[in-house]
Symmetry: C2
Subunit: 410 residues, 2 copies
């Protein structure tokens, strides 16, 4: 991308109503634009970062046999009445709307009901099980307050995966596959070392669910752990009987702030039973499908990574998800020509700052945008056939031969 042609500009200030660091930085650096509280547009840099995160998740899910679909936002109330989740007294984050042709519709805050209903078309026998279906889909949640930037919004991108198994044993096998896939995802996203699988409340239908929590001072949650972090608990399960189960003593536990970056649930028959998702088993008997669901808030994860890595100069993206890997600043005429050629050969890897600005402004923008490597090409370094490359993460610079840098691009 050539910055001279980008319609987006970095901004010095954001509105005072924006209190979350992630949104402040993402707005200033030109990744997102705020429509309303909790409602954000994605600009080219933001969209590319989001796509990079999606692709990592997609690869890991496809590798464990999941199939991608895309369901709708508009929802049929009849399905949600069957599971008692339509009533706004019971589920208080619905956006509802009226159909001109008559009747009400809802905007999906999650998709258990419609996917369970849909699978009735495709699952009839034990031979159809197990099967795993996921999507990247915009969810709508009518949050009363929205002040954590893109961590908690009214419209957001979520990856939701649903599993359909013949019995609990088969379900558990896949559940463990997802646990491992999730940790591979967080590792590739650059937050693996600080992300823990925690025990969380399972609600009325299961003893526990699991969350994945990333340690960060801005996290909304508090997690508790023993010395070696082999057992990590969410605050809501910090009860005497749970502590006994794991052989823990409350006063020996340490705690820290953390942000949820994923959750996985054993749903059992909670949705398949009221909606009637059944199959004919080997023994000829009619049985109910055993379900699980597995979420990752994609835009939320982007916000957590933004918060976690940011420093006083701006964003710092891990290489795997950065929208571009290199930010090239040419100084001088010959340098501009070489930079232009490099950009034209590798447009997906390079932001070329060809704007008519002083170098200081360009250095500041490179740091604000959080691009992993800044490359300065000047007529001076070129005399030695070298470029200066600086890591955004470590701040370390080195002069490298032109050929070596070009080799890195491919």
């Amino acid at each position: 991308m050539k910055l001279s042609q980008s319609f987006v500009k970095t901004l010095r200030e954001v509105g005072k109503d924006e209190t979350a660091k992630n949104a402040q930085l993402l707005i200033r650096a030109g990744y997102i634009h705020k429509e309303l509280a909790g409602i954000y547009d994605y600009l080219p840099l933001g969209l590319k970062t989001l796509e990079n995160i999606k692709n990592i998740i997609r690869e890991e899910l496809n590798n464990i046999g999941c199939q991608e679909v895309q369901m709708t936002a508009l929802q049929n109330p009849e399905l949600w009445k069957k599971t008692d989740r339509w009533d706004s007294e019971k589920v208080d984050i619905w956006f509802k709307t009226d159909l001109s042709a008559g009747g009400e519709l809802g905007l999906a805050p999650t998709h258990e009901e419609p996917i369970t209903e849909m699978m009735k078309t495709y699952i009839s026998s034990y031979k159809d099980l197990p099967t795993y279906v996921y999507q990247f889909q915009t969810k709508f949640r009518n949050e009363l307050r929205a002040k954590s930037g893109i961590l908690r919004t009214r419209e957001f991108l979520m990856k939701d995966l649903y599993s359909f198994s013949a019995d609990e044993e088969s379900h558990n096998k896949f559940y463990h596959e997802v646990e491992k896939a999730y940790m591979r995802i967080y590792t590739r996203l650059g937050i693996g070392e600080d992300t823990y699988q925690t025990f969380a409340s399972g609600g009325v239908f299961s003893k526990y669910s699991h969350e994945f929590q990333t340690i960060t001072p801005v996290g909304e949650d508090t997690i508790y752990y023993n010395k070696d972090k082999s057992v990590v608990l969410n605050e809501e399960v910090l009860l005497p009987e749970v502590l006994d189960e794991f052989g823990l003593k409350k006063d020996k536990l340490e705690s820290t702030a953390a942000a949820e970056v994923g959750n996985i649930f054993t749903l059992k028959y909670k949705y398949s039973e009221p909606l009637g998702l059944e199959f004919n088993d080997k023994d000829g008997k009619r049985k109910t499908v055993f379900m699980g669901c597995y979420g990752i808030g994609v835009s939320r994860v982007m916000g957590v990574i933004a918060e976690k890595y940011a420093d006083e100069k701006g964003l710092v993206w891990p290489e795997n998800i950065a929208p571009y890997k290199y930010y090239i600043i040419p100084i001088g005429e010959q340098a501009s020509k070489i930079a232009e050629d490099l950009h034209n050969e590798h447009p997906d890897d390079i932001i070329l700052d060809d704007r008519d600005f002083r170098p200081g402004q360009k250095f500041a923008d490179a740091e604000l945008m959080g691009i992993p490597y800044r490359i300065i090409i000047s007529d001076k370094t070129l005399a030695k056939n070298e470029l200066e490359i600086t890591s955004r993460l470590t701040g370390k610079s080195e002069n490298l031969p032109l050929k070596k840098i070009i080799k890195n691009f491919s």
Copy 2:
């Protein structure tokens, strides 16, 4: 994709409420699933087809300097009040909803208002113009009736592009670039020969707009043209003064049914003026930005192509947008091993029908799904080191050496 592992099955029948051929075929072939009238989910094959269409559009728009963003569905009424498009008496396809925190929100049927408002952050000088921004975004329209399958739905995927220019001359230049890009898009989508740019009503703010209409018996529109089709008119502009302008006589015109696959508008100052999108021109004067907008209904185009190419056996996808290029049916043990190897090397190109079904059922599904080439591998043809390959479009078969077919994959 291995069919034995696909959760989707082809269906013999669809509900009687589904009267549109495109939706009937797409449901039977396992591309889409119906949630409610005018509301469809995309299954793996449908999603892949949609992505192929998106990628062609994206490439052509990026080539003419457009930049991709993603705006939100939830809309701030205040912006739409300024352009007098909030009142449901005036715009009758709104879905509206209430915010828990107080106030109303709308679900975007289009995005002129929010993008005009957003650009106020980034456009301040003539140096920022022209600039072109587009998105692939889910639109919501509260249609009273929905019975054309995925051609006219309540929730659909649209590509909408907006242009921002300093004056009409600069605008016109880009407008012509888009006209050419659109024809390249339709050609690559396989409907170029039957798609015409038509004169359509420009509404109150412009003499004409243009539509792109694809000739097909199921089209909802009627278009009129002279002998060489150099002038093509929509029905709504078939007025004496228009005929005079183009030197046409009504009784010499021919007509045909057609489906709209795109439209482009010169908006002038319709949105930029009430929303206050201005810039400082070279002469130091404050001026209003000159705008245009350019739409392609992505899911609609998929439906038009489905209708246009389909025959009595099912769908027929043009190669460029087919979800997979080859449908391999192995017959016999050695054949299955070779088919498996081919699939593992080229999983994105091949549907491997490894189901425990009789060949007749597999042939029928290959045709219903509309995959461009069916390849039969049998122990018999393998004895001659050959495979049988059949074109879905022409129905012609030929036996080709194994090596030649493998060469085609790469």
